[in-house]
């Protein structure tokens, strides 16, 4: 059982932006989702866990390894896929993976070769292994990212918004791949899409403005608001009125050109509302709303 333990971790950038304040998380094997809007501090958190950035304060430990001071030890167990990455131009997947294999310390040529074949097959890139990665499509490129990440059999995998920009089919393939590799491994996975997390993660944390707002399993989180989500269809020009009257979480168009609003309330807000099944998305919007209100 692997475990990642983050305690009182804060980070402020030289331009004064406070990226993270006083974060504490305990994460063990399985998929862990980091859900938050753009700029919430997800990438900062992940880069720090991936040893690429220094924390200002707090401690980060993985299986007893101090992430801040024992870089090499941690990197042996680490697989990291940043939000954006490039590759050397005009190099084939095979050559690049060989390069990463050396970087990751697989010094036996034979071992490296078999490992490369394994990850190429796993990521379904074997047929295009001789093509230049710089010419790959977005989905193939993300899968290549996973392929390089897997070379050293990581115990801690960090993937930062990997599904951004992928078409639905690619996204599905990619998430399945992640699920496959998350056995006996800590996988931290950040996204701003709730559905990604819903489908995949055993545990998740919602963060915004550099703070962890809620943590738990998707079921637990939804249970908290199970009887508090109400919905009704309204005319489009009524939305602002409803927004002032109720705590509107989201709105979407119905086929009848009406707006279906979802509202959080302990009791039925008014007769036109009917109780709806709570979703993780509702919880997410609720939390965002609360933090926005607090900061306003």
């Amino acid at each position: 059982m692997n475990s990642l333990s983050i305690k009182n971790f804060s980070k402020q950038y030289p331009n004064g932006v406070k990226a993270l304040s006083n974060i504490s998380l305990e994460i063990s094997d399985g998929m862990f989702g980091l859900l938050g809007p753009n700029g919430a501090g997800k990438s900062t958190l992940m880069r720090t866990i991936a040893t690429l950035q220094r924390p200002d304060s707090g401690s980060l430990f993985f299986n007893g390894i101090n992430i801040h001071s024992e870089h090499t030890k941690l990197r042996r167990l680490l697989g990291y896929l940043p939000q954006e990455f490039g590759v050397y131009p005009n190099e084939s997947a095979e050559r690049l993976l060989n390069y990463f294999g050396i970087l990751k310390g697989i010094s036996s040529v034979k071992e490296r070769r078999s490992k490369i074949q394994e990850v190429l097959e796993l990521t379904n890139l074997f047929d295009v292994r001789k093509n230049a990665v710089s010419d790959y499509s977005g989905g193939m490129r993300q899968r290549f990212g996973i392929a390089q990440l897997l070379l050293n059999d990581p115990k801690l995998i960090i993937v930062d918004e990997p599904t951004a920009g992928l078409d639905p089919a690619e996204r599905r393939r990619f998430l399945n791949l992640l699920r496959e590799i998350s056995q006996d491994t800590v996988v931290i996975f950040s996204t701003h899409l709730v559905e990604d997390v819903t489908e995949l993660c055993q545990n998740l944390a919602m963060i915004n403005k550099g703070m962890v707002l809620m943590e738990g399993t998707p079921t637990n989180i939804v249970q908290n608001i199970e009887t508090n989500i109400w919905t009704c269809d309204i005319a489009t020009d009524k939305l602002s009125e409803y927004k002032t009257k109720y705590s509107v979480l989201s709105s979407s168009f119905t086929p009848q050109q009406k707006l279906r609003v979802r509202v959080f309330s302990r009791s039925q807000p008014s007769p036109e509302f009917t109780l709806s099944t709570a979703s993780l998305e509702d919880a997410y919007f609720l939390i965002l709303q609360i933090t926005e209100a607090e900061h306003a």
Partner: protein, 1190 residues
């Protein structure tokens, strides 16, 4: 309008970049610095304003810019190409290209903004120059009138045009390759190209082509200002000559053509580049060389960390080496090497056989510099590649250690360097093959390239990685590295002479076919070891400051460096520092041991010694008349010992009892035979002793003095011994008698120690005392020699004298030389493994001792020996010795030749490889040099000048003149004229740089252009005016009166009096002009008219402007009345030529100062009139001496 928007947007972006301000500052400061130093702001030299031109003279502004040309051109890829490259780099072009802009708007906007940026930076350089000229503290005597146009003209004609055409070229490359490194490589290639052009077109005959083709226009400027005197430099503007304009148009035109072509290829679409910095094989071709690469056999033997570094570097290396940019770079290097070596054209007068040592000598400097620049560029590329491609986060989060990554980058650079350096071998060998030269010395190639040149490059690689790691902007890093490397070459000028203070400097090892690298290699390796340690320190520094992950502030960087300073790292650093300082200390004490005593202490010591024995300065001393010596040379141990006896005779009329001896280093006085002596004074540091004889030496009595000499012990680093393993050449040392050389010369130093003022003993040539001592030593006359030299059994030893015996004993070879009649002082000792080439002329046996493979020019040298002896025999009388030989010596001692009696040491580089080339503009320099050195057997050995001013005229001027006569006999009047013209150019080049010039008869030893060049021109002029018969009579008489007699020794005045006795009154002005003053002539045909007379003759009336010009000198001839001697005018020859350029009439007319009207009657139709057609006057500009008649 869109174009303007792009322009404005781009400009705003760059003006905000700190790197722009940095470059602005750098160029501004460079301008200030160059001008202020030229205007002597440090006040170091006490220059009168006459001896140096104004610092802000027009031609100087040009040359300052040419000094920074290299740096200025690297601005072009950085800023001009930076504008368009930015779009490719950020992928911003994908967005931009979707806007409704067309190609023309896009390109023009980008180019114009980039051009303006470099315009501004370079304008700041010129502004800096101006500011430097008005700084307080500059020597105002060195600043001329301020004028805007002084700066404007070079800025427009050179700076902007060069920026423009190279800008268009590189901009084209970047827009097509979408890669800015290709632009940097292009600029490097432009430099290589220029060097190749310079090399191919060296020599005066190609000057006009070179002027046109020089990519930077420098030669057009040099041409326009060639021969300017200081006052012309100060007052005249560099003219915009047709040549310059044409040159500028040519290169702009070429670049516009290239630009237009590139423009048509360029597309505003998302397209793969077709020029690339890294490998860009088509996707389908990316087949697995991965299999091969990773199973490279060498790597399996290495420890894991190193093996990983090696494999990573192989990956990076193969990407670079397969890129088109690098392939082009390699091909151009090879081509350049081939051109450079194939031409083998070090000086336009001679061509050299393609010996391997010659092949290695030529490319070393320039090509090494190119490899360095490429290293700087690729170091930046490697350090920043991960970040630029966006792969940094992937790589930084792997477990690979920083050390492994660093070593992999270092190895990649080394591999690149090795590949480029291999071009030297490929170029050299292919040139040798091409020339049909089969003496390959592959091991020498390999050793020199990988064992010698490579080390320095590797140390630069460490420096480049360090600088590129510390700085975030790789182009700034590149630029600073180039400035640094260039600055090092000028470091001696700011007073840092020791190589231990100048990064990566070391004494360059000299290879000789005779002696190999010798001790120079040890010293070289010692220095390189020392700098390699420094390189190690740099690499550790690089390791500590390597960027990994995201670092935001300098403070954070320092913090990380501190964290990385593990105990191991600190230990290594401390160890290396200790080793570095220790090595530096041992090098400076062992290799430079002579600098131990500070100059001040030596000065004090000398002052005290002079006070002690100064009163003995003019004490009569006996004179050396004979020398007997046994010398033993041990080539393999590199040492020698000698012992011998000196025979001094009292030539005075009184008994002598007080003697002063001085001993050179390594020599000691071991005893005085049959005498008891008291030591009155001994100074073991200044190495003199004053002795008093118990029995005074009676007149005509002989004093025998024993001495011994022993090699200074050899140490591992330095070359103390004069002996080398093969091809040794040195002068035998022995004690000398007379007042020692302890006098301080500087008047202010003398007054500091209360020493009396020195009188300049050499000025008064008329003093009878002037002839007492010869220029080769005081208290020494002609010597009887008896010398035995022993050497190793496979070598031959040679000294002056006749070889009277040779034998072997105890596995050593001995050679005994004796003089048949007394000979001049100067005992050369040579030893080597020689073959002997022999011949004879009459009864004189002639020999050339040479290295077995150096057989190319033996016949020519021998024919020159015979020609010289033939000429001198008929002109001066027979050669007084029976043996005469040329003996080769190692290049270690230099590349010169020197004449000793009967023996002429010749460096292997002085003629042994020169190729005979009889093409129109070349003459046989081996023949000429041999004739010159042999002529010294008379001028220097028969005529032994007194130790007085003008002595070099009697040796070098006369040897040059004699060699000229022999050259004419051997090769005809055309080659003679060619040589005279060459020498005339050399003379005027030097003359124009000074405001003072000694007349020939007073020439000082360091004015070579006067003693050699003017000496030749003046003697030739006199010869032509007097006629050969009369002039040779003068020489014969002069030799007869002084040959082999001494003392008194002849001075230049003795020659003048011989000359005067044979010169008609009408020509005495010539003696004054040529020898007693520094006169040169100026003639010009101003106008003419022609009439045909009745008797089918033509009458031509010429208006000729004539004048003489003289320079001042502190040595003046006294008591000569110019007017009485008619010295204001002179005889001028006027020649008429027919349409086939044949001389049909030659007349001599006397012309006066100013305009002369000359009527010239001629029988045939003439098409050309030439003043002084035979060049018998000393005149600089002869282009206005010719009149073409249609």
């Amino acid at each position: 309008m869109l174009s303007y928007k792009i322009f404005r947007y781009e400009l705003q972006h760059w003006l905000k970049q700190p790197v722009f301000s940095v470059f602005l500052g750098l160029f501004f400061c460079a301008g200030i610095g160059i001008m202020a130093l030229s205007a002597d702001i440090l006040g170091e030299q006490s220059i009168s304003q006459n001896s140096r031109p104004f610092a802000n003279a027009s031609s100087n502004i040009f040359s300052y810019f040419f000094d920074v040309q290299l740096f200025s051109l690297f601005l072009v890829p950085l800023f001009l190409c930076g504008t368009i490259y930015r779009d490719f780099q950020t992928n911003g072009y994908l967005v931009l290209y979707s806007y409704p802009i067309n190609k023309a708007q896009y390109i023009s906007g980008k180019f114009a903004s980039g051009f303006l940026l470099i315009f501004i930076i370079q304008a700041f350089f010129y502004t800096g120059l101006f500011v430097g000229s008005i700084l307080p503290g500059v020597n105002e005597g060195l600043i001329g009138d301020h004028s805007f146009s002084i700066y404007l003209v070079p800025f427009l004609s050179i700076t902007l045009v060069n920026s423009f055409w190279i800008g268009v070229l590189t901009f084209s490359v970047v827009s097509l390759s979408r890669n800015i490194h290709a632009a940097f490589v292009t600029v490097i290639l432009v430099f290589v190209l220029r060097r190749a052009i310079l090399f191919i077109l060296a020599g005066p005959d190609n000057l006009s082509t070179l002027t046109l083709l020089d990519p930077f226009g420098e030669f057009a400027v040099l041409n326009a200002t060639a021969g300017w005197t200081i006052s012309e430099v100060n007052t005249q503007f560099v003219p915009l000559t047709n040549d310059l304009v044409l040159n500028r148009l040519l290169w702009s035109g070429i670049s516009v053509c290239i630009g237009t072509f590139a423009y048509t290829l360029f597309n505003l679409t998302h397209k793969q580049s077709f020029l690339s910095f890294v490998s860009n094989r088509k996707s389908e071709n990316l087949s697995s060389d991965f299999q091969n690469a990773s199973s490279f056999s060498l790597s399996t033997f290495l420890p894991v960390g190193i093996r990983n570094s090696w494999e990573l570097s192989s990956f990076q290396f193969s990407a670079i080496i397969k890129s088109r940019t690098f392939i082009v770079l390699m091909l151009v290097s090879l081509l350049f090497m081939f051109l450079l070596l194939g031409q083998v054209n070090p000086e336009y007068t001679t061509r050299i056989y393609p010996l391997t040592q010659v092949m290695l000598l030529l490319p070393s400097l320039f090509f090494s510099f190119i490899v360095m620049i490429v290293t700087f560029l690729y170091a930046g590329f490697l350090v920043n590649k991960d970040i630029q491609t966006g792969m940094d986060a992937l790589i930084d989060s792997t477990q690979v250690s920083n050390l492994t990554l660093l070593i992999s980058k270092f190895l990649t650079l080394l591999k690149l360097q090795a590949v480029l350096l291999t071009m030297i071998i490929l170029g050299g060998v292919s040139v040798q093959l091409w020339k049909g030269f089969t003496q390959f010395e592959l091991s020498l190639y390999v050793f020199h390239v990988y064992g010698v040149l490579f080390i320095g490059q590797a140390i630069w690689a460490a420096m480049a990685l360090f600088v590129q790691t510390i700085l975030r902007n790789q182009y700034l890093g590149f630029f600073l590295l180039v400035v640094f490397a260039f600055g090092l070459s000028g470091i001696e000028s700011i007073g840092i002479e020791k190589d231990i203070y100048a990064f990566n400097e070391a004494p360059i090892p000299q290879y000789s076919d005779l002696s190999g690298y010798g001790a120079s290699l040890r010293s070289f390796f010692a220095h390189k070891f020392y700098w390699a340690i420094f390189g190690g320190i740099l690499l550790i520094g690089t390791l500590l400051f390597t960027r990994r992950g995201q670092i935001f502030t300098l403070k954070e960087r320092l913090l990380i460096a501190k964290e990385r300073s593990s105990q191991k790292a600190v230990m290594a650093l401390v160890l290396l520092c200790i080793l570095f300082v220790g090595t530096g200390f041992s090098i400076s004490t062992i290799i430079y041991p002579h600098n131990n005593e500070p100059a001040l202490i030596t000065e004090q010591r000398k002052a005290e010694a002079e006070k002690l024995i100064g009163h003995l300065k003019n004490l009569p001393q006996p004179r050396l008349k004979a020398l007997k010596m046994n010398m033993n040379i041990f080539p393999s141990q590199r040492s020698y010992t000698s012992s011998g006896t000196l025979y001094f005779v009292n030539d005075e009329t009184v008994p002598l009892d007080t003697l002063l001896f001085s001993c050179p280093n390594d020599v000691s006085l071991t005893g005085i035979i049959d005498q008891r002596v008291d030591k009155i004074a001994v100074d073991s540091i200044l190495r003199f002793e004053v002795l008093k004889l118990s029995t005074p030496l009676q007149p005509a009595d002989t004093l025998k003095v024993n001495f011994s000499a022993e090699n200074h012990p050899e140490n591992w680093f330095s070359e103390n011994s004069k002996v080398i393993n093969n091809g040794t050449f040195f002068l035998a040392d022995f004690p000398s008698i007379g007042y020692p050389d302890i006098e301080l010369k500087n008047p202010s130093t003398r007054s500091k120690y209360d020493l009396p003022e020195l009188e300049d003993g050499k000025i008064n040539l008329r003093d009878s005392a002037a002839g007492i001592n010869s220029y080769v030593g005081h208290h020494i006359d002609l010597l009887d020699l008896d010398i035995t030299v022993g050497t190793s059994v496979n070598q031959i030893a040679i000294t002056p004298g006749n070889l009277v015996a040779e034998w072997r004993e105890d596995n050593r070879a001995y050679f005994k030389f004796e003089s048949t009649n007394p000979i001049r002082n100067g005992i050369s000792v040579q030893s080597g493994r020689f073959d002997v080439f022999e011949d004879s002329l009459n009864v004189i046996s002639l020999q050339i001792y040479h290295h077995p493979t150096h057989t190319f020019n033996l016949e020519r040298m021998m024919s020159a020996m015979k020609a010289t002896l033939g000429y001198t025999d008929s002109t001066f009388g027979g050669y007084p010795f029976k043996e005469l030989r040329i003996v080769e010596f190692s290049k270690t001692y230099g590349s010169f030749a020197q004449s000793f009696t009967q023996t002429i040491p010749f460096s292997e580089f002085a003629g042994f490889f020169s190729k005979q080339d009889t093409s129109e503009n070349r003459f046989d320099d081996v023949f000429r040099l041999t004739a010159h050195e042999l002529s010294h057997q008379w001028w220097g050995h028969q005529i032994i000048p007194a130790d007085a001013l003008g002595s070099r005229f009697l040796t070098e001027g006369f040897a040059e003149f004699t060699a000229l006569q022999i050259l004419e006999q051997g090769y005809g009047p055309e080659k003679k004229k060619l040589y005279l013209d060459t020498i005339s150019n050399r003379y005027f080049n030097q003359r124009n740089r000074t405001n003072e010039e000694s007349p020939l008869i007073f020439v000082t030893p360091n004015e070579a252009h006067i003693s050699y060049a003017r000496g030749l021109l003046a003697l030739n002029s006199m010869y032509q005016h007097l006629g050969s018969k009369q002039f040779e009579q003068v020489l014969r008489n002069f030799i007869e009166s002084f040959a082999s007699k001494a003392p008194p020794y002849p001075t230049s005045l003795d020659f003048i009096s011989h000359l005067k006795s044979q010169t008609p009154d009408s020509l005495t002005y010539l003696i004054y002009d040529l020898f007693e003053t520094s006169t040169v002539y100026k003639n010009e045909i101003v106008d003419y008219s022609m009439q045909s007379t009745e008797s089918s003759e033509f009458e031509i009336e010429l208006t000729v402007s004539s004048s003489k010009e003289r320079k001042e000198s502190k040595y003046q001839i006294q008591g000569f009345d110019e007017k009485l001697s008619g010295a204001s005018g002179f005889y001028l020859q006027i020649g008429a030529f027919d349409s086939e350029d044949k001389l049909i009439q030659l007349e001599s007319v006397y012309v006066g100062e100013g305009q002369n009207s000359i009527i010239f009657t001629i029988g045939e139709k003439t098409s050309k009139i030439v003043l002084d057609p035979k060049h018998i006057l000393i005149e600089q500009n002869i282009s206005d001496n010719t009149l073409i008649i249609e």
